[in-house]
Amino acid sequence: MSVTSRRRFAAIALASVAVLATGTACGNDSESGDGQITLVVDVFGDQGFGYEDLYKQYESEHPNIKIQERGKGLGLGDYNTRLTQQITAGAGAGDIVALEEGTIVQFYAQADKFVNLADHGANDLKSNFLPWKWEQGVTPDGKVLGLGTDIGSMAICYRTDLFKAANLPTDREQVGALWPTWDEFIATGQKFAAVDKKHKFVDSATNFYNVVLMQTAGAGSGYTYFDKSNQLVVGSNPDVKSAFDLTTKMISAGLSNHLKSFSNEWNAGFKNGSFAAIGCPAWMTGVIKGQAGDSAAGKWDIAKAPGTGGNWGGAFLGVPKASKHPKEAAELAKFLTSAKSQAEAFKKVGNLPSSPQALSDPAVAEATNDYFSNAPVGKIFAAGASELKPVYLGPKNQAVRDAVENALRSVEQGKAADAAWQDAVKNGEAAGK
């Protein structure tokens, strides 16, 4: 190759690189010439949020908008890690992002990175949400960070076939009557374990613990590991200690199947039917259906949970400031969190609406779930929803919760309950620093 031809070659190569670069730049732009825009919605969880049909409806009503969803199948932990980085970097997040109940507090500190939905008329929608749900979506200085999607009021899901084999009642009213309190729940479990040596009564210590904690805290202090001024109180909040003690009592009664929540073994536990009951916030019904699969249809039923009230989980939709189409995104978020849409999502994946209008909508209130032996899910979950007392979760809630859950797992693996409690407090305090 002579020098000149080499130069020509270089020029051609350079030119083609430039063309390629401009080509990709065009491809990335979410707005093409004819005013078409694409809105990206980020969600999490194996079942997603059940919005597929709603997207189609919205797209046909707004021909200039295309909706793309990301994140279905992604666990909350991974999702939140990514979201934190994207929000901090100010790039990469969707036009609408789902914020989970346990993590939205963390984003209060970064409220300036989100569109204040009050600027897009969100305050007019206040009555569309349960008052405490609305409050959770608003920062202390009054910015509307997210609009509520669902809430997680609690019940117990159980396997009728295993209950029957263990000579326990199977009718959901009678089952619910077995356990007015958690101590009686454990006593029922002991009866079960006395007959059935092959299966365990509940899936794991942590799931039991979280349900009990959210109930106890809801009825008691109103917070868990952090008080409302974000002081770490893991060691001094009596609600945490009593939920922990109740859980270790349950473990020492031999009722736990020792499956780590959301692990492969846990998923397999649903498929193999290796446990008889599980603490069941509304969204858990979708998890069970997804994991246990068609072969277990009709074997599950839902009864009321011991104790009263308590909320676990639920999410919000927010619009990051980095969005190129904040106005359109805010409109879509308003649409997706409307009473009608919430009822639709409930039908799809079982997420209990946070809108009082949706909760009293016959489509929700009278809904039954054929997978769960036609249990009146609307009645069971919606009944207590309006009286639910919310629990405040601090910004580092997840880190402390991991530490306490790990201590409970170590009890499952044979550690003494007292020593585990010391660990929970010590590691929880290190994690919440």
Partner: protein, 328 residues
Amino acid sequence: MSSLETTAAPAVEQSPSRRATRRTPPGSRWLTRLDLRLTPYVLVLPFFVIFAIFGVYPIIYTVWIALTDRSPLNATISFVGLDNFVELLTNDPQFWNAVWNTFGMFAMSTVPQLLLALMLANALNRRIRGQMFFRLAIAMPIITSTAVVALIFSMIYARDFGLANWLLDLVGVDPIDWRANRFASWFAISTMVDWRWVGYNALIYLAAMQSISKDMYEAAALDGASRRRQFWSITIPQLRPTIIFTLIISTIGGLQLFTEPLMFTSGSGALSGGSEGQFQTITMYLLEVMNTRFRWGYAGAVALVLFLLIASVSFVNYLLARRISSDK
């Protein structure tokens, strides 16, 4: 850089003068000169630009962030000096637990890994049937994804229906909860690491063995040295630089052990590496600090201490490996 210039210089003298005798359009001579002087730098530039962006800048930024309390939860960033390092070194049992685990698993996996690789390479260096097949076969694990390896091994070591426990049951040993016991989990993770990396190291040793002159072996054989003696007195000393190389690479890899222990458990809180951090490595702890505790400044300090650890362990390894075979 200087060696580059000296090699480039003669070319500059030669080619233009030769071409100049043929035709000399005005200005072209100067351009050609510039071309030949600059081109080498332009050609090496992409590496250095990319290295600066993805290598130098992050390191400098890590040093800076480690001196602050940066966190997405803090509206403002304040400079805290060496506080993060002081806390890390004096008041963080979880970090030292992670260091202990990392070194434990490093020793438990690297020693058998390199010994096995040496033996494999030595075997494959002989004339055997299906030589090509075996040489390719040992390279297979390298091309499988770590995630898949970890997934399959975590099924083998499953508590309830795992292959390992089934085999133990056959010989009458009680099933082991591989994730609850510290040494059991280290062992399981070490087997994952070794399955993947023994072949890689064996290939490197094999390549080095083939460059050892056959004359030496012949001479040794004439002197009556056994195969074993030849291995220890010729092969090992000749492999010295290669052994140092594999040791350093294994050190870097071993101290950054991450995917295998992370994938060893699934579900919530996988970064904590077991209920009591039985198999949490330094990199897992680093990510836990950063992503669940949101202490980015502190995570920066963890990263820098990890860097220093790797550098010093590599150096010690280098000294040791130099000594091993320099007696000869």
